[in-house]
């Protein structure tokens, strides 16, 4: 399908004012039945009678509101009703128009891929893909959908990717940072092959399945702790992908790490490089120093931005990682939203701004 003409026109307008690309917007369902039109009778019946056989997803796991109702900004509840992120006109007003966002990538965290019943996971992912495309992207083409896949069933995942590839409404494939095994394992490689073959990047968003404790130190007791340990899963996935040789086998694979922090990246690169200099022969498939793959195959979405005491320290972190690796994300409507005008407290050059807020993302995503 081709992009509607008005999107292209709008894009030309927006460019004059540096239209921003937002890599992380969370849509939510208007009602618990919102997926029904996109589920077959078989799965509607199944979900009504049995429900979802979950292994606990990020957004559903807590038994308390996660700091703020619906994990959201208190001003993000649509005036016409419904939960934050469910109302396209309000999202348009509060986010897209307010910040001149040229494209926004939807990152549903609705647990389609966390059912232990793989067929159910496949049905839910596919329904959520249709739901994003019909309920969000078609009414507002600045929004673009993520292809959700049941990652523990690579064959079904590839089928879903191929079904959506080439459809302008989809910008990337989404995976969660918590998986049954580290993502570099070969069971997941068919997904990477399909991503590369179809020139689709992967958005690796924090969350995902919870077959294990969120932290290598066990289960956290506090939300502040739980919220922080999310970054550990992202570091583990980055290391696994590099050390298993994923980027040697799929050199054009692009992975954007979303909401997992980024100030750890320079340190991870330094440490892995130092280990590699000594133990390279254990992983001969890793032909270059590990940090080099971080500079060719990984991108880092900034929200929630690091907030060092001295704002200039953040510039140093950007420089260590590489300005070309950084992409802006808002996390709207969640409570830890980053305002593009105020989240970065150091002065950027015009070129740096263009890279962070738009140009780098254009190198990652397939906006058609």
């Amino acid at each position: 399908m081709n992009a509607p003409v008005d999107v292209l026109e709008r894009r030309a307008d927006a460019e004059a004012k540096l239209g921003i690309i937002d890599c992380d917007i969370h849509p939510s369902m208007k009602s618990p039945r919102a997926l029904d039109p996109y589920l077959s009778a078989r799965w509607r019946k199944h979900l009504t009678e049995y429900g979802k056989f979950n292994c606990g997803i990020y957004a559903d796991r807590g038994t308390y509101p996660r700091f703020s109702p619906a994990t959201s900004r208190r001003d993000a509840w649509p005036p016409g009703g419904g939960s934050p992120g469910s109302d396209v006109p309000f999202m348009r007003e509060q986010l897209l128009d307010a910040y001149n966002i040229a494209y926004g990538v939807l990152e549903p965290l609705l647990g389609g891929n966390t059912s232990r019943n793989l067929d159910e996971a496949a049905a839910l992912c596919s329904a959520m893909n249709d739901w994003q495309a019909h309920d969000f992207v078609e009414p507002e083409p600045r929004l673009r959908a993520s292809i959700l896949v049941p990652q523990d069933d690579p064959e079904a995942s590839v089928k879903e990717i191929e079904k959506r590839a080439g459809d302008w409404r989809f910008a990337q494939i989404q995976l969660g940072s918590k998986t049954s095994e580290p993502l570099g394992r070969r069971r997941y490689w068919p997904i990477f092959a399909a991503a590369q073959a179809n020139n689709l990047s992967i958005g690796l968003h924090i969350g995902g399945t919870q077959n294990s404790a969120p932290s290598a130190g066990g289960w956290p007791q506090f939300y502040i702790e739980d919220h922080h340990v999310l970054v550990h899963s992202m570091q583990s996935q980055a290391a696994s992908l590099i050390l298993e040789g994923v980027f040697e086998t799929f050199p054009n694979l692009k992975i954007c790490l979303i909401e997992g922090g980024f100030a750890w990246a320079p340190s991870l690169g330094w440490r892995l490089d130092a280990h590699w200099a000594k133990m390279r022969d254990e992983v001969p498939q890793v032909k270059r120093p590990p940090s080099e793959y971080m500079r060719t195959n990984l991108w880092f979405a900034t929200q929630p931005v690091e907030e060092p005491e001295n704002p200039e320290d953040l510039r140093q972190v950007f420089e260590w990682i590489g300005w070309d690796r950084m992409v802006y994300s808002s996390d709207y409507p969640h409570w830890d939203f980053d305002d593009p005008k105020h989240a970065f407290r150091f002065k950027m050059t015009e070129q740096e701004e263009r890279m962070l807020f738009r140009d780098n993302a254009l190198n990652v995503y397939s906006f058609q």
Partner: protein, 137 residues
Amino acid sequence: MSKHAVATVAEIPPGQRKLVTVRGRSIAVFNLDGEFFGLFNRCPHQGGPMCEGILTGLIESDEPGNYKYSRKGEILRCPWHGWEFDVRTGQSYCEPERVQVRSYPVEVAPGERVVQGPYVAETVPVTVEQEYVVVDV
């Protein structure tokens, strides 16, 4: 600085707030059990609209296992990232000296006085029978 009548006292009951615009500034006016306070409607962190935050209290602890809840209804949390501010002073809890929401003096004045001036009643019609919330901007 000039004084502006922005609401009748009855319009902002205890525990409630009203967003007003005075000389181009967006100001959230709060009623704490009959005392009024005005805060700039932008969080100094990332600019969240303070008027949409919740009023809550302070939870503190001298040592693990001992908790104290005080100042109920006097702590305003930014509706975005939840930073805590003292609604009486605009000071943040974590860095009271460095991080503050600008606060504006607010007083209650009878309509008679407002009508006589030097108040500038530009946002609400004023009658002598009512009491008014007056913000100094």
